[in-house]
Symmetry: C2
Subunit: 127 residues, 2 copies
């Protein structure tokens, strides 16, 4: 699984948390990429059994895809929170999380996550 694949899967997960079904165009708009880029990515992800696409073009995560999407999304959330706790502004924290989520090791992430869960679950509510 490439970094770009992870991004597409994560997008689908995020978009599917809204009510409407997810289509290629939604992903394209969300990620700021062109239609053909999404089209090809979906073909690859579908081929690898990471997503399913019905006759109406509605995209759903298959088990393998959901697993990856959730993993990356968790990293996104935890890393964003982590950086914010360190003192990084929200937007920068999010942007950094977005890049680091794809490259951090499981080992390092688990430790970062443990630190977040340990050092006050409630400190996210300041301001």
């Amino acid at each position: 699984m490439q970094e770009s694949g992870e991004m597409y899967l994560e997008s689908i997960l995020v978009l599917s948390q809204k009510d409407e079904p997810v289509r290629s165009m939604d992903v394209a708009k969300y990620l700021g990429v062109s239609k053909p880029s999404v089209s090809r990515a979906m073909a690859i992800l579908k081929n690898g059994n990471y997503v399913e696409i019905d006759s109406l073009g509605h995209i759903t995560l298959a088990d393998a895809g959901r697993k990856i999407a959730e993993k990356i999304y968790e990293r996104h959330v935890v890393l964003t929170e982590f950086f914010e706790r360190l003192g990084v502004d929200k937007q920068t924290a999010e942007e950094d999380a977005c890049r680091i989520e794809h490259v951090i090791s499981d080992k390092a992430f688990d430790i970062v996550k443990a630190h977040i869960n340990e050092k006050g679950q409630t400190s996210g509510q300041e301001k």
Copy 2:
């Protein structure tokens, strides 16, 4: 400057800390890439005035290249230290630093660095 360019420059900096002059082969061995990969990279870096290569093939960092190399190397050292302090084993810390050093923002890095300098400069000597 691409991520790969940063890696090459950082390698040259690290290798030049030893006594001998740095040649393409040293970089190739250090990074585990082929000779032609280094050859092309050096041509690009030389062209952009990031490195100088004398008639004997000895590679030195030009000012622009040194600046980048030192920035990335500092990130490498600080991020490795940071992860180790969090509880990540040395090897994993180093591997993660190696990937994150290219994608972390200046803002986030400065804050990470400040935390390192703050929370005990001496705790690196345990064990």
